[in-house]
C-alpha cells in the first residue's frame, strides 16, 4: 500500500470521508480557540460538565422527531444555554463559585436527560447520541456545523478584548467597563454551541475532546495567547485528519480514534514540549549569565 493509498485515497474514493474531513476542519477551527480560553480560565472541566448538560435537550429533540440532528441540536442548545446562563447568573449574583453552581445545574440536567431517555428506552439510537457518528454526516448536519463554527469565530473576535482582560484581571475590567459579565455569558454560550457541534460528530461523551486536548497540547509549545490559539487549531486539525485515516484503515470507531490521536500528541508534548516539557526540565542546559 503506497503512502497515497493510505493517506489520500480514502478521501478521494469515499464521499462520507470527505464529509467527515470537512466536519473535522470546521470543528477544529472554532472549537480549539474556545478550548484555549476554557483552559486559561481554568474551566476545562466546566466544558466537560456542560457536555452532559446538553443531554436532556438532545433527548427531548430525539423523542419529538426521532433521529433528526437539527431537532436534537436545537434541544441541546436550549438545554445548554439554560444551564450555562442559570449557573452563571447564580454565581454572579450570590458569590457561590461558578464550579459549585454549575455542578448542581448539570447534575440536575443529566438526571433529567436520563429520565427522559428511559421513558422511551430505545438504546441503539441512544448510542448514536452518546458517541456521535462523524461518518454519517448529511448535508443538513454539515451546514449546521459550519454555520455554528462561523458564528463562533465572528462572536469570539467581537468579545476577544474584554474576554482576555476579564481572564487576566477581572477587577480592573469591572472598574473601567460593564463588558465583563456579558463577555463571560457570551463565552459560555459559545462553549455550548461548540459542544453541540462536537456532539454531532463525537457524541456527548467526547464532544469536549477536540476543544480541550488541543489547548493542552498548545500549552507546551507557546507562552503567547496568539501562539496558543494557532497551535491548538493546527493540532486539532492534525488529530482530526490522522484520526479519520486511522479509523478508516483499522476499523476503530472514528470519534475515539480522533481523540486517541489527540491524546498521543498531548503525551508527546508533555515529554518534548519546548515550554515546560519533561525532557526540557530534565536537561535544562547550563544556566545563563543574566
Amino acid at each position: 500500500m503506497s503512502i497515497h493509498d493510505a493517506l489520500v485515497a480514502p478521501f478521494l474514493d469515499f464521499e462520507f470521508m470527505r464529509r467527515a474531513l470537512a466536519a473535522v476542519i470546521a470543528l477544529s477551527l472554532a472549537g480549539a480557540p474556545i478550548g484555549v480560553f476554557l483552559m486559561l480560565r481554568r474551566m476545562s472541566l466546566v466544558g466537560d460538565a456542560m457536555a452532559h448538560a446538553i443531554l436532556p435537550g438532545a433527548a427531548i429533540g430525539f423523542l419529538l422527531s426521532g433521529l433528526n440532528l437539527f431537532a436534537m441540536t436545537t434541544g441541546g442548545l436550549i438545554a445548554g444555554f439554560t444551564v450555562a446562563i442559570l449557573a452563571g447568573l447564580v454565581s454572579r449574583t450570590t458569590g457561590l463559585k461558578e464550579d459549585a453552581s454549575l455542578a448542581t445545574f448539570y447534575l440536575a440536567s443529566l438526571a433529567l436527560g436520563v429520565s427522559i431517555v428511559s421513558l422511551k428506552g430505545s438504546n441503539i439510537d441512544l448510542l448514536h447520541v452518546l458517541f456521535g457518528n462523524i461518518l454519517a454526516m448529511d448535508d443538513q448536519t454539515l451546514l449546521v456545523i459550519a454555520a455554528n463554527a462561523t458564528i463562533t469565530l465572528i462572536v469570539l473576535a467581537v468579545i476577544y478584548r474584554p474576554l482576555v482582560i476579564e481572564s487576566v484581571d477581572p477587577l480592573f475590567l469591572r472598574t473601567v467597563s460593564r463588558a465583563g459579565a456579558p463577555a463571560h455569558l457570551i463565552f459560555l454560550a459559545l462553549v455550548v454551541i461548540n459542544l453541540v457541534n462536537g456532539f454531532q460528530a463525537l457524541g456527548t461523551l467526547l464532544a469536549v475532546g477536540l476543544m480541550i486536548l488541543p489547548a493542552g497540547i498548545a500549552r507546551f509549545w507557546s507562552r503567547d495567547i496568539t501562539g496558543l490559539i494557532c497551535i491548538a487549531v493546527v493540532s486539532a486539525l492534525m488529530s482530526g485528519y490522522a484520526g479519520l485515516v486511522l479509523s478508516f484503515q483499522t476499523r476503530l470507531p472514528s470519534g475515539p480514534a480522533i481523540i486517541l490521536v489527540a491524546a498521543g500528541l498531548y503525551m508527546a508534548s508533555v515529554l518534548f514540549g519546548s515550554v515546560g516539557g519533561l525532557v526540557r526540565q530534565l536537561f535544562p542546559g547550563r544556566h545563563l549569565e543574566a
Binding site: 486559561l40 482582560i165 487576566v168 484581571d169 472598574t175
Partner: protein, 252 residues
C-alpha cells in the same frame, strides 16, 4: 477649590455590618490625600465604595462630573492571574480602555504612549516579557504604568507601597507627586507615617469612623492615633441596628 468627591453620611460594609461608619466630608479637586488607619479600619472598603464595586449600606458618594468608571483604581490585592500568557506591553495597554473601548485599535500614537508609560516607571526593555516573570516590585511598577495610561482626573491607590523596596517607593512616589502637580486628585491608603508627613498635604485618619480629617500635621498627633487604635474594635455578630440611622429615619 470645588469638591471632587463628596461623602454624605456614607456607611459601607458587608452583611449589614459597617466597616466605614457615617463618613461625611469633601475631597477638593486636585487634593493629594493620604488615608491612614490600623488594619481593619475600613480604608480598602472606603475605596471599594468610592469606585463603585461596593454599594453603600446608606448615604451617598458624589463624584463631581465623573462616572465611577473614570476613576483609575489600584487595588491592594489585585485579582491578576499571573499565569495568563500576556506580555507586559499588552497588559499595560489595557489602561487605554477609555480611549480604545472594545473595538478601538492600538495605533502608532497609542504604542508610543505605552512605551512612554513603561519608561516612566523604569520598565523599558520589559515590553515582551510575560507578566508572570515579573518580581513584586516590577509588578507594582507595571500597575502604576497602567494607571498612568488611564489618564484619569481621580486616582485611587490602595496601599501602593506595601512590600516594595525603597528605590521603587521613591520612583513611584515621584510619579504620584507628578500626578498631583498635573492637577489630578490623588487618594492613597498608606501605613508609613513619615512618608505621609513628608509628602501628603492632607490626611484622613480612619478607624471605621473618621477620627480626624484635615492638614496632615494636625491629623497625625499622638492622641488621635491612640484614639484610632482604640476605636477599631471588631465585627460583632450580635450587634444591634445602628441607633443613629434609626433616629435619622424617624426624623425624616
Amino acid at each position: 477649590m470645588p469638591a471632587q468627591i463628596t461623602f454624605r453620611d456614607v456607611t459601607l460594609g458587608y452583611d449589614r455590618h459597617p466597616a466605614v461608619h457615617h463618613l461625611s466630608g469633601e475631597v477638593v479637586s486636585g487634593a493629594l490625600l493620604a488615608v491612614i488607619g490600623p488594619n481593619g479600619a475600613g480604608k480598602s472598603t472606603l475605596f471599594r465604595g468610592l469606585v463603585g464595586i461596593l454599594k453603600p449600606l446608606s448615604g451617598t458618594v458624589t463624584l463631581a462630573g465623573l462616572g465611577v468608571r473614570d476613576i483609575a483604581y489600584l487595588p491592594q490585592i489585585a485579582e491578576i492571574d499571573r499565569s495568563f500568557p500576556i506580555s507586559v506591553f499588552d497588559f499595560v495597554g489595557t489602561g487605554l480602555w477609555r480611549v480604545t473601548g472594545i473595538f478601538g485599535g492600538i495605533g502608532k500614537g497609542s504604542r508610543e504612549r505605552i512605551a512612554q508609560a513603561l519608561a516612566s516607571v523604569g520598565l523599558t526593555g520589559f515590553e515582551n516579557r510575560g507578566i508572570g516573570t515579573l518580581s513584586g516590585g516590577q509588578m507594582q511598577r507595571m500597575l502604576f504604568a497602567r494607571v498612568l495610561l488611564q489618564d484619569s482626573p481621580l486616582i485611587v491607590l490602595d496601599e501602593p507601597f506595601n512590600a516594595i523596596d525603597a528605590k521603587t517607593i521613591d520612583d513611584l512616589l515621584a510619579l504620584t507627586k507628578r500626578w498631583h502637580r498635573e492637577g489630578r486628585t490623588v487618594i492613597a491608603a498608606l501605613h508609613d507615617m513619615d512618608l505621609v508627613r513628608a509628602n501628603f498635604p492632607d490626611t484622613l485618619l480612619l478607624a471605621r469612623e473618621p477620627v480626624a480629617w484635615g492638614a496632615t500635621a494636625e491629623v497625625l498627633t499622638a492622641e488621635s492615633l491612640a484614639e484610632a487604635r482604640r476605636m477599631c474594635e471588631a465585627f460583632d455578630d450580635s450587634a444591634h441596628a445602628c441607633a443613629e440611622t434609626s433616629r435619622q429615619s424617624r426624623a425624616a
